[in-house]
């Protein structure tokens, strides 16, 4: 099986689906001839033709709206928003339209679009190339929200999203595109090729939406994480010397509640980690769910480790980023609690 980094895996998913299904097409800013600013669509226009992978005007609202219209016709558009930080002009179309089309038309019309967008910091991108806005979408009924953490899942989840009949947003952790960054930012990142999850089948397969994965088994506490933080959490467990069970949620909505509950009932402790700002972040939802479902099994208060409630600052990136030290400290606190 070829070793792929996350960009190659995403590219392969789109290629496979464009080859199998003429109703799949890809568009977004700079995705056509150029192949996208992160190169995720490289070669797709050349292989599949100008009308199947093309540049879009700089109008995120227009990109989402056009995808809704195409979906209503019966196509399966895959759109790229160049950075999650630039999704907001498309927010109305996502929230008021894509998310509710099935409901308001009683299934008469649907919006089976897939929206891919790079998110997260750690690349010195400042406040407009670093955000993690997933909670603005998990809050909206009618959209599925997916965050892969490795090449294998990225391809399988993207194919599952394209085949899904509801709108799906995939937040791609851009810090993981080229390697499993674990938050120790002073160390070089090893390439994906050295990681088992870089073995990606060339053909069609899916990773089901709504299914989490236990990426590290343990008995002391449960860590709920997704995207970049899956790797940070594993590094933190080693650093703290805690027998942590790390769950990669993979899909935020609909969440795999069984896997979460089974783990927390086993360990009795829970640390929630995300890079997004803390207040009203997805961690708040996770915390409420764990409390509702596992209250009598909890032996310590649930801890959240998150980005601070500020914009993402250019010069203080590593103080902002909830790195392995902060996660390890939280693990120790929860073990004492």
């Amino acid at each position: 099986m070829p070793a792929m980094n996350m960009i190659q895996a995403l590219n392969s998913a789109m290629d496979v689906m464009m080859t199998r299904d003429p109703n799949v097409l890809v568009f977004g800013e700079d995705v056509g001839y150029f192949g996208g600013v992160f190169r995720a669509t490289e070669g797709l226009q050349k292989k599949h033709g100008l009308t199947r992978c093309f540049d879009a005007p700089i109008a995120e609202g227009g990109i989402v709206a056009a995808a809704i219209g195409m979906g209503a016709y019966g196509l399966r558009p895959v759109i790229e928003i160049q950075f999650a930080d630039y999704i907001y002009p498309g927010y109305d179309q996502i929230v008021s339209e894509a998310a509710r089309l099935r409901y308001r038309s009683a299934g008469d019309f649907t919006a089976p679009l897939t929206l891919r967008t790079p998110y997260g910091g750690g690349i010195f991108g400042g406040q407009t190339h670093s955000q993690s806005p997933e909670a603005l979408f998990t809050h909206v009924a009618g959209i599925k929200t997916v965050v892969p953490s490795n090449p294998y899942d990225a391809k399988g989840l993207l194919i599952a999203a394209i085949e899904d009949d509801d709108p799906v947003i995939i937040f791609e952790p851009k810090r993981l595109y080229n390697g499993p960054f674990d938050g120790w930012h002073e160390n070089p990142v090893s390439p994906w090729a050295k990681h088992p999850d870089s073995e990606v089948p060339e053909g069609h397969y899916t990773v089901p939406l709504g299914k989490a994965k236990v990426v590290r088994e343990g008995n002391d506490l449960t860590v709920l994480a997704y995207g970049t933080m899956v790797h940070v959490a594993q590094a933190a467990a080693v650093h703290a010397g805690v027998d942590a069970e790390v769950i990669d949620l993979r899909t935020l909505i609909p969440i795999d509640i069984e896997t979460v509950v089974a783990s927390v009932k086993k360990t009795g402790r829970c640390v929630i980690v995300h890079e997004a700002t803390r207040t009203s972040g997805f961690g708040a939802e996770l915390s409420a769910l764990v409390q509702e479902e596992c209250f009598y099994h909890l032996e310590a208060p649930i801890a959240r480790v998150t980005g601070w409630d500020t914009p993402y600052p250019h010069a203080f990136e590593w103080e902002y980023f909830p790195g392995p030290q902060r996660v390890a400290d939280a693990m120790k606190r929860v073990m004492e609690g």
């Binding site: 800013e29 700079d30 056509g32 001839y33 150029f34 600013v37 100008l50 009308t51 093309f54 540049d55 879009a56 005007p57 700089i58 109008a59 995120e60 609202g61 227009g62 930080d85 630039y86 907001y88 002009p89 010195f124 991108g125 400042g126 406040q127 407009t128 190339h129 803390r278 207040t279 601070w308 409630d309 500020t310 914009p311 600052p313 250019h314 010069a315 203080f316 103080e319 902002y320």
Partner: protein, 413 residues
């Protein structure tokens, strides 16, 4: 019931393509360049409809021999032209140094405006010092023209301890209210409609200041562009709405923003806004149309849309490699030349300047930039020096609420 209509041919989807990609011969044959001096200069109270032809031509003053001709010749004094030339030359030297510093790892990111210097340099000269500009990241020449210290610009780029943005912003996202330079947003287009609001406020208060907004041709696709035109038209706001058409939006040619179907200037006509298309590499023409638009705004005649027709000679940013999507030497073949060389040659042709003067100016600019560079680098480049980490938590609100205070304490700063 009517018989169903049948297409004579099956429908097909059109996706526009530029004339040349890497490896192809450079092709500017589709570009119609009106002769210098040909465009009429209407009275400032002419209606949008009456001046509509100006949205489809190119207002040009400098002819092929670099002589200033026609009704748009602003008849600037040699001193004014030399001031404009100086702004452009300093801007170019500044860009070159900062680009190099990024390449040397001294900062994370940089964006040049090479080839487009005339736009902001001429406009800064045509506007009053206290008119408020709402720039994009390619109008650094406004700050330079208005005397903002180069060293402060560099401190911003290095996110160092003296950074006026306190380490919070990506390089080049300057701000200076004192210099009529609105804080740059990384989100495209947003500032264009905000400028209209500022202009409405100035009108509301009976002020004399006007607003000057900028947007790239690629970003005219955003809804904010169209909101700006609607609001400016409805409220007759004293604002100059500039579209800088530098042909490329990262890898997308201007046709992806709809530039093949009609000019960007012509967007104004549908809103009843007088619109002009100007040779953006002709300093004198840019000055002249800006002065016309500013006079209109100050006379309570409302907004003007200006399309500056130019070419992005630089890569989009330090993250970009234009060789992947356009012919390598396309910039050198741009039929409207280079703005610095054209103004220089005009001054030389008028007997006001010489090659030696120009070399001396270039040296002066390089020295100025180098000296500022040394000063900023002595404070520190990215990572060597920075504001206090506390600054991360300040200015989120005027008064920091308890939860952010607690987070700051948790970080121990």
């Amino acid at each position: 019931m009517n018989a169903p209509l049948k297409n004579t041919v099956p429908l097909s989807l059109r996706v526009p393509e530029p004339r040349a990609r890497p490896g192809d011969p450079i092709d500017f044959s589709g570009l119609v360049v009106a002769p210098a001096g040909a465009a009429p200069r209407p009275d400032i109270n002419a209606s949008a409809y009456a001046v509509r032809d100006l949205a489809f031509t190119l207002v040009r003053v400098l002819d092929e021999a670099n002589v200033a001709v026609g009704p748009w010749n602003p008849k600037l004094s040699p001193a004014q032209m030399k001031r404009g030339l100086r702004t452009m030359v300093v801007t170019r030297a500044y860009d070159e140094r900062m680009y190099r510093m990024q390449r040397q790892g001294k900062t994370s990111f940089y964006m040049k405006c090479t080839g487009e210097e005339a736009v902001a340099s001429a406009q800064a000269l045509a506007l009053a010092e206290d008119d408020m500009c709402f720039p994009t990241y390619r109008q650094q020449a406004l700050l330079i023209a208005r005397g903002y210290p180069l060293v402060d610009m560099m401190n911003q780029i290095y996110s160092n301890a003296a950074d006026p943005c306190k380490g919070r912003q990506l390089p080049v996202m300057y701000t200076s209210k004192a210099h009529g330079f609105f804080s740059i947003s990384g989100n495209l287009g947003t500032q264009f409609s905000q400028a209209v609001g500022w202009a409405m406020a100035s009108a509301y208060k009976g002020d004399s200041r006007i607003a000057c907004a900028y947007i790239g041709e690629g970003s005219t696709a955003e809804g904010d562009f169209h909101s700006a035109l609607t609001f400016a038209s409805v409220y007759d706001a004293p604002v100059i709405l500039n579209v800088v058409n530098n042909q490329w939006a990262i890898s997308s040619f201007q046709g992806i923003a709809g530039g093949e179907e009609s000019t960007f200037a012509s967007r104004g006509i549908g809103y009843g806004i007088p619109a002009l298309r100007v040779d953006g590499n002709d300093f004198l023409a840019v000055y002249a149309v800006t002065q016309w638009a500013a006079d209109r705004a100050r006379a309570n005649l409302g907004p003007t849309l200006i399309e500056h027709f130019t070419y992005r000679a630089a890569p989009h940013s330090t993250s970009d490699d234009p060789g992947r999507y356009r012919p390598v030497n396309e910039a050198d073949a741009w039929p409207l030349g280079d703005p610095v060389e054209r103004l220089r040659d005009h001054l030389i042709a008028s007997g006001e300047w010489s090659d030696d003067d120009h070399k001396a100016l270039e040296k002066e600019a390089a020295d100025l930039v180098r000296a500022a560079g040394k000063e900023a680098e002595a404070i520190g480049t990215l990572g060597q020096s920075r504001p206090s980490v506390k600054e991360m938590f300040e200015d989120v609100y005027k008064e920091t609420p308890w939860h952010i205070r607690r987070q700051r304490q948790e970080l121990g700063v």
